[in-house]
């Protein structure tokens, strides 16, 4: 996702001289070409995220379209108030980019686990939150925020994510989900976001083998959220399953739960898979960390089939 972001940003910078990339002294080997090619559109703010966010606001006030870039929680939590007061309150075209969402930097420890970022950014007034799950979505989200009004948060994984869409760049519309696999609607619907669409797709493969047909959708947008689509699922399906590599609190699962709970013609039950909101004191690679917190396709499969069995027994 990181390389897809940089390549798309390079294309944007070429077309639009107001585009500016500000890094918090990270991106070794990743931003070098951009920096060489567009010296007037690149700035290293140093290891100083509060200043980075504040000066991004200042640059944007003077007509620049700014991307701030760092890893994990540094560009978000470290300078949260600057993002809220300086960028969001003034509605400035600044995209805050974090590389290493979820457990992408799993071995580095708790400081580098970006597991509440979507909840926190999504709580800020006026903030658009994008959490793509593969390089094609990352490319589309980058392109979108390059011309969108107001502030955005773009949560990326790291690199080497599996390609989940057949095209290199998917077509996205603000706040809309993307249909990815299976029928468009089914009794069981799986929605993936925050880097975990791969788990939803893996789970649907297991479910198919068990005779359960499910629809798979991707939600690269968390804010604004595809309420209309979820309302449809709430009425027409029995089970909506959300899967995200993010805290259970405040991300995709919470948004879905809110919409489903408010749906008057609600039929669907909601099953949310995410990261429990407790500190993780151990480290491991992304796969290991997912397994530790129960974020696996096998667990999704087991719980969905168990629920289907319960529903079947009641019919």
């Amino acid at each position: 996702m990181r390389d897809a972001f940089v390549s798309e940003l390079t294309a944007l910078a070429e077309r639009d001289p107001s585009i500016m990339l500000v890094t918090g002294d990270l991106g070794f080997g990743v931003l070098t070409d951009f920096a060489k090619r567009f010296p007037a559109q690149y700035l290293n703010a140093g290891v100083a995220e509060q200043n980075m966010a504040g000066l991004a606001a200042g640059l944007a006030l003077e007509g620049r379209r700014v991307f701030t870039y760092s890893i994990a929680n540094f560009p978000t939590l470290r300078c949260l108030e600057q993002i809220r007061n300086d960028i969001c309150y003034h509605g400035l075209p600044v995209t805050v980019v974090s590389v290493g969402g979820g457990f992408a930097y799993g071995p580095l420890g708790f400081s580098h686990h970006a597991t509440e970022d979507v909840a926190v950014m999504g709580a800020l007034p006026g903030m658009r939150v994008m959490a793509p799950s593969d390089p094609a979505e990352a490319r589309a989200c980058t392109r979108f925020s390059g011309s969108a009004e107001g502030p955005s948060y773009l949560r990326l994984g790291r690199n080497g994510e599996r390609k989940l869409h057949s095209d290199d760049c998917v077509r996205i519309r603000e706040g809309n989900m993307l249909h990815v696999a299976g029928p468009e609607s089914a009794d069981t619907v799986l929605i993936g976001s925050c880097g975990a669409l791969d788990l939803a797709l893996e789970a649907v493969g297991l479910l198919e083998a068990s005779g359960v047909s499910a629809a798979v959708w991707s939600s690269p947008f968390i804010m604004p959220f595809d309420r209309a689509r979820v309302m449809q699922f709430a009425s027409n399906s029995s089970l909506v399953v959300t899967v995200e590599e993010h805290s259970e609190s405040g991300g995709l699962g919470s948004r879905c739960a809110q919409v489903i709970a408010a749906s008057a013609s609600r039929r669907a039950q909601h099953l949310a898979f995410g990261i429990p909101p407790v500190p993780q004191h151990y480290v491991g690679d992304q796969h290991f960390m997912r397994v530790q917190v129960g974020l696996t396709a096998r667990r999704i499969h087991a719980m969905v089939t168990a629920l289907s069995g319960v529903r079947g027994a009641h019919e």
Binding site: A40, L43, A45, G46, A48, Q50, N51, A53, G54, L55, A56, A57, G58, L59, A60, L61, E62, G63, R64, E81, Q82, N85, D86, Y89, H90
Partner: protein, 274 residues
């Protein structure tokens, strides 16, 4: 281009009168903070900055960010006196439904460049503006007014490093150094001295002045011949102009009412006729 037909002394006196009335009517804090920086604001807008009241977003303007946003009443008063909006609007300050917020806000208030209120935000933003202006070859300057207590915030020191590194000669910071912060004196809270040496060590041109002497403030705010940012340390008195408010932490919070308000107005009006 000077928009103001008042002398800095006249403008400062009007800012002070507005400030005591506004904080009284709005029943809000920080009158002492406004009185402290009234002469700085009057000199900035009356002598130093180039602005157009009829075209607040004119690209050739000098920029001003009020980082000590709690003294925003002083900026509203200044802008109203310069004709950015009607003076009567000052009556709205802190009233229900008003956009003249207690801590300075830009939305719906012509001439206010940026909203602040949480300390330590103004300098990074001003540095970003000054950087953008420098890159595009603009001669507009960016001024930012900081409180002394505000310098406790680490974000300032990030921006202080940045501005010096990038030789932002269009950036001019002003510290309203009244030596009193929220609960006690600066010296008793987190001492800043030697403040001028700190800024110099960070690569800034530093000028100290009496923050109530308009000519001295004006001289201190001139562009530097050196290629870097300028920090003006303006030595001020909190509550300046109303004797019973001077040097007092109390008037960081208290809103003048009744006889206090009358006494403050009488003293300020008498000073104006002197």
């Amino acid at each position: 281009m000077r928009e103001c037909h008042l002398s800095p002394s006249q403008l400062a006196q009007r800012i002070r009168l507005h400030a005591v009335r506004m904080t009284s009517k709005g029943r809000t804090s920080h009158v002492g903070s406004v009185l402290s920086c009234a002469d700085i604001l009057a000199t900035l807008y009356g002598r130093v900055m180039t602005v157009r009241a009829v075209e607040p977003r004119w690209d050739g303007r000098d920029r001003f960010i009020m980082s000590k946003g709690h003294a925003g009443a002083g900026v509203y008063a200044t802008l109203a006196e310069l004709g950015f909006f009607p003076i009567e609007r000052l009556e709205e300050h802190c009233q229900n439904g008003s956009v003249l917020c207690g801590h300075i806000a830009a939305h719906g208030v012509p001439g206010v460049e940026f909203s602040t209120g949480s300390l330590g935000h103004g300098l990074p933003v001003a540095a970003g503006m000054a950087y953008a202006l420098k890159v595009r070859g603009s001669s507009s300057r960016t001024f930012v007014l900081l409180s002394d207590g505000e310098l406790d915030e680490g974000s300032n020191w990030e921006a202080i490093l940045f501005a010096a590194h990038h030789r932002l000669s269009g950036l001019c910071g002003i510290v309203d150094y009244n030596k009193i912060q929220s609960l006690a004196t600066v010296a008793d809270t987190l001492g800043l001295e030697p403040l001028a040496e700190k800024f110099r060590a960070f690569g800034w041109t530093v000028r100290e002045c009496d923050g109530h002497d308009h000519a001295a403030i004006e001289v201190a705010m001139q562009s530097s011949s050196e290629s870097g940012p300028v920090m003006v340390i303006a030595h001020t008195v909190k509550g300046r102009g109303v004797k019973f408010m001077e040097h007092s932490v109390l008037w960081h919070y208290r809103s003048p009412q009744g006889e206090e308000l009358a006494a403050a107005i009488a003293e300020l009006e008498a000073a104006g006729h002197a």
